[in-house]
Symmetry: C2
Subunit: 364 residues, 2 copies
Amino acid sequence: MIPDWIDTPSVMIDVDVLDANIARMASAMRTRGVRLRPHAKTHKVLEIGARQLAAGAVGLTVATIGEAEVFAAGGVKDLFIAYPLWVDARRAHRLLALGEAAAVRVGLDSVESAVEMGRNLGTGARNVGVLVEVDSGHHRSGALPADVVGIARAAADAGLPVEGAFTFPGHSYAPGMPQHAMRDEDSALTEASSRLLAAGFDVAELSGGSTPTALVGGGNAATELRPGVYVLGDAQQYELERCALSDIALTVAATVVSRSAPPGGKSRRVVVDAGSKILGSDRAAWATGYGRLLDEPAARIVALSEHHATIEWPDDAVLPGHGQRLRVVPNHVCLAMNLVDRVSVVRNGVVEDEWEVAARGRNS
Amino acid sequence: MIPDWIDTPSVMIDVDVLDANIARMASAMRTRGVRLRPHAKTHKVLEIGARQLAAGAVGLTVATIGEAEVFAAGGVKDLFIAYPLWVDARRAHRLLALGEAAAVRVGLDSVESAVEMGRNLGTGARNVGVLVEVDSGHHRSGALPADVVGIARAAADAGLPVEGAFTFPGHSYAPGMPQHAMRDEDSALTEASSRLLAAGFDVAELSGGSTPTALVGGGNAATELRPGVYVLGDAQQYELERCALSDIALTVAATVVSRSAPPGGKSRRVVVDAGSKILGSDRAAWATGYGRLLDEPAARIVALSEHHATIEWPDDAVLPGHGQRLRVVPNHVCLAMNLVDRVSVVRNGVVEDEWEVAARGRNS
């Protein structure tokens, strides 16, 4: 299944699986009547963003001005930087340039950032709107619902068009939490909306979403959702039962370089040449290891260093030999994509294209 | 201390601290009569490698053929790929080309890889030697000492010049372990050497080392050491008491984008714009958090996502305001360097140069 001329370690994307993931999420959002604005920080690839837009996404979400610049240069006309930006003079300059190329929204979660953003953007920013971030239980950034109106007023006073609110229910990334987090998201957006409306603001957008919550059924106040990981899948989503192994489009091709098969059969393990510098080293407390093996679900990656993954192999399966090539599923695909400059696009075991990870490393 | 025109997040290297780290390790190795071959996977920067060589390093260590190619193209004439390579036909082609430009050594830890390497390199590889990897207690790759001679024989039979043995005492990366791991390294190299000598092999090199063990005093059979992290320092080495905060040359400049200061004074925290996509997400079980703050040692990074670090601030210190810029020390500097294409070179708070991370992402 790994094309012969792929060197290891390297990232492969199965384009049929990718397209099926794009179609499934687009269809689910259409059925629900919610706009889809996929988070492009997951893939950072123009070609994947274009496929998402062609399938009906209203625009893309990004994490940084740098990512927005790459996608705008690639022709995307509607971008939301879902992050509480601190817009100093240099960032204001870049945002204004971005606003010439696309409709841009940015996040904010404090009076201070509203004042700074307004002062530095000045009156020229006709194409840059803001959504106030509200904390729905993830407790990272985001204002308390009670503070949303004060922040929106500060933004309006600073000359910024307030277009609604957004939240990230990141506490959905744990077993049993997606349903709970979706309800929290719904409550937070509902409360933010009520307060903004009562204070006289228009609420054009209530933006929510995450891959774990996007497909949870039930009422949701959100007008748009921003799932990211669904497009590629990863070991976290598999272990959270948010996708099947067959939905995982991205794997890292790796070669067995070392092997330990003691006669007693205890702790049979192989070491492959894919480490944290291509898989990323995210490991949630509930994860079973540092990633999974696509073709051997019972194997466990028990240790990870920069260029080695140590894999314990199940007793009842044949231990791979030296030089054998395996498909590794990273825990968190957003980090794996951010480690490579190019990915191989595979269909039916044949490499048919290579995509550039155009927004890789655009952290600022 | 963060130059005004640096955008956040971005990597800064204090060149005075860097040069002091280079000089200190070079001097310690000279005093001990051990050759120094710094591991360049830590920095991946030609300019830093050149400084290490100018200070007396005999050559550089790298992790992959790709890294070796970058440093050889940069003029480095002596390279050790300290990794049990699986040398298939394509890698053999690249190794042979590399051997035209530099003296190259590679690792192996099995009869199978010796046979494969010998077959694919053929008889033309005059400039490619091998060191047999021995496990000194890290239990990642590396042969048992009892197997070293069999592997060396297979390599010699396959036409490969066996030049000695190497080990990586990676179990030194835990509190209280450096001394213990150094003794294990010494034992493993001594035993490998005795066995190889008894079997009639020359043992030109016994290569060991790691930043935690390199400066541990006492006898060591190693003829060369390969520390990497010492050159930049990181939060892991600080927490292992292998360096002081003042020895840390690399920090990530970050801006406070969100802030939570409840009236009761409980859990006062800020969120900065540096996340796992620039800090890396390595966190050992014994680490106090996801990195440290250079200028506030009592602060703790309690959560890390791709573009956010959540920092709990000590009760008795002034909580930074929105827009304030902080210097973050990554846990594992080798991962942080691998996330950026360029770093700012700072002296006395002024940016005096920019270096390319030339071998970034060269995983294969």
